[in-house]
Symmetry: C2
Subunit: 463 residues, 2 copies
């Protein structure tokens, strides 16, 4: 039933070409976690997907390193090759699904496919964050779609929400938990009171972290994603190189506990915020540990889940929540992109939605990423002192450094056992990072201070 | 800059018609809350929206009852009329925005616009839930889009998520808080311990409830919305008449408190669940008060906010959160629909996304809404008894009625003062509504039972 031309395109004046009515033909590079998941879901939900797309979606050729393993996934009806470039330029392919990962070769395959007039679907955030400007320029020139819903928070249609769902809005900020591995580790640290190293080991044992977890725990993966979201939110090119990126490896269990005492939870947030005030005109683009009020919805995004908030001037705050990783979860996004392409039915509307949400002449090359020094948030400071009564003086020391202090208290006995170094906990009002950095530096040299001062941002997001 | 043809549609082979490159011309019926908000946001974010849409979006004619007030909103450059039908069929209009509300006349205007070849955008859930099957059939016949993102949870792009973002998935269920008025009232009842009548009065005083709140508090508005979501989730026509609809007017403060004691919060949920099991093959379609675990994200959707969860077989659970009402919040959705239409650039892809997410030949007329008796959930029962020790017998009475009991306890002294009627609280395992209804009836006649037995559904949603 679904192989037939779709009866519902029944306007008599509409004459789609034969090519537009036959199944959409997919070439796939890579048949690992993402590729195999995509193949499996396409097969399982074939009729249902065709009913939504208006025509079938068929994988016709796959490039894989290990052909024997590939056969075990895709069977014998799909052509197989060792040569990704052959898939990228294959005459029978309408859309390339790049599911190989990495940046160098993937860039070449994607550009070759675009030049051959193929649409491209990929979940490769590193590729797009680093080479997206070049790739999207080529795609515009050749009139093809490059879709990447799976590149950010996989199953959550957040790219679609920004590019299509919230188009009425001047976006004020996007902030989210967009890396499942670090969120899993942070949730473990809080729930079980374990340190970073043990939480990481658990994450690795359970498959939530890779053997080399650098990309995740150093914040790089989240930075790729917030770079993509910022471009779609604000109409700017991809500026991954300018993002401020901090990981979670230095986080101490003591700060997790002290944040809790103050009514906060610590999350790794990707933040993109449009600033247009007396101090700055540009975009904050950063991945950093941050304190979030325990009552805030983002504080309840736990384990390996992702959650993203968007503030628009008309919509107010909206939030999007779901799995941040996984084979079929990513496939859900990859196939949604394929259905979008299939629904174009060969009309030129391949460029219906511009790659970064704005048409090229509306993307501002002049919108700068603000330097770290200019980022302005509330702050949490933990100041170890020799004697508990020195808490009285800490406020004055900080005021002398132009840090606006909102609250000062001692870490409670539950967190600092009797005889331990007293810890003064400070919450500030909004203050530029430059001011905080100078104050932390000065305090570190103060004779009353008993150790390194810890500072973390506090995000008081609406919603 | 944005009035020019969009340079980024730069593929030399693409020759859009002149009509497709000029601003999209909007005719609007109604300039109240939704209409005025849409006009205001379109004006404020004009350049930004054009940068996203690829061309301008201009309101060219407005129908209003009070022309003097309309002039004060839209100024003198927009044509005004008292005759909605004139706007619906106006030769200069590409898209009709129906922002008048109601069902009878709105149906006529929308059908007239469709027959005149206009696209239609509306946030009118009552109109679509009740007349959508007829309207979408006409729209298919005439090859026009009928877009309605604003009809469900206004600023949250949940219709887009279901129709486009989750197309890979066999949707298992959709469940959500989709009426802001009732959620505000329920939040008040819980947070402040007030009764329904006082919470409603507060909601009215603050503008969260209308003078005649029937549509909201009787669950009808939520039923309109879950009807739309179910059709998009499962590929079925709109079956509003078959939905089970319960309101919140009978909810007692005692049950809010007892639910809390058991670790739950009470929410008004719209639920659409695909059932395919030994007992039933069809769709549960219902709006009902339900207990949700206090740790579940939906329990943290408070005040007038909306939150919707969707379970797909590949995506797993995703959730969408945001404002459920408001002038500019609704405008955000209406304008997103207009941008979708503008981005078609006059290609026939007006039918790019089928109205209910599935093409007509993939919509099953045979998928029934299951009757109330077949709905299967866990249940909460509150059984008033003459003597506290009768708690021992309640489990046996229920077992005799084939109700699987999971937990039994007495309402604590905080909720039932000394000397008051003891209240036995029961949580059941999953059980058909028919069984519960019979048991509640039988228990009501039991000599040991001291008053009406209360039963509420418990939704143990994943996520």
């Amino acid at each position: 039933m679904f192989r037939d031309p779709v009866q519902s395109l029944e306007d008599p004046s509409f004459q789609p070409t034969a090519a537009a009515m036959r199944p959409l033909r997919v070439g796939m590079i890579g048949i690992g976690t993402v590729g195999a998941g995509t193949f499996r879901v396409l097969a399982r939900n074939q009729a249902l997907i065709a009913g939504r797309a208006g025509r079938g979606i068929e994988v016709v050729v796959v490039a894989a390193r290990n052909l024997a393993r590939a056969v075990s996934v895709v069977g014998k009806d799909v052509a197989l090759t060792n040569d990704p470039m052959q898939v990228a330029t294959h005459p029978d392919v309408d859309v390339l699904v790049e599911a190989a990962g990495g940046t160098g070769p993937a860039r070449d395959w994607v550009l070759a496919a675009i030049r051959a007039g193929k649409h491209v679907v990929t979940a490769n955030k590193a590729l797009l964050a680093e080479h997206g400007n070049e790739i999207f320029a080529a795609a515009r020139q050749h009139g093809v779609a490059v879709a990447y819903e799976g590149a950010v928070a996989v199953s959550i249609p957040i790219v679609k929400a920004l590019r299509e769902g919230l188009t009425a809005n001047r976006i004020e900020w996007v902030a989210g938990i967009i890396n499942g591995t670090t969120n899993f580790i942070l949730s473990k640290m809080r729930d079980e009171g374990v340190g970073f190293a043990e939480a990481l080991a658990q994450a690795q044992a359970l498959g939530y972290a890779e053997a080399d977890p650098t990309f995740d725990i150093e914040g790089i993966d989240a930075a790729h994603k917030i770079t993509l979201l910022a471009a779609n939110a604000f109409g700017m090119p991809l500026r991954f190189a300018d993002a401020q990126v901090e990981g979670i490896t230095a986080l101490q269990g003591l700060d997790v506990a002290c944040a809790e005492q103050l009514g906060f939870r610590i999350k790794l947030l990707g933040v993109a915020r449009r600033r247009q005030d007396g101090d700055a005109d540009g975009v904050e683009l950063r991945v950093q540990l941050a304190l979030v009020p325990a009552t805030h919805l983002l504080a309840h995004v736990n384990g390996s889940m992702n959650g993203i908030m968007v503030k628009g001037d008309a919509s107010g705050v909206t939030m999007y929540y779901g799995a941040g990783a996984g084979s079929e979860q990513t496939a859900s996004a990859v196939i949604a992109d394929l259905v979008d392409v299939a629904r174009l039915h060969g009309t030129h509307a391949a460029q219906r939605v511009p790659h970064l949400g704005f048409h090229a002449n509306a993307i501002s090359d002049d919108l700068p990423v603000l330097p770290r020094a200019a980022v302005r948030t509330l702050h949490y400071l933990r100041v170890p002192v020799h004697q508990a009564q020195q808490i009285e003086a800490v406020g004055a020391w900080l005021a002398a450094q132009h840090v606006p202090v909102a609250q000062v208290q001692l870490a409670c006995a539950q967190h600092v056992p009797a005889g331990g170094t007293p810890q003064v906990l400070v919450l500030t009002d909004a203050v530029a990072q430059a001011t905080v950095d100078l104050a932390v530096h000065a305090l570190g040299a103060h004779p009353a201070v008993a150790g390194p001062v810890v500072s973390l941002r506090v995000e008081m997001l609406e919603g």
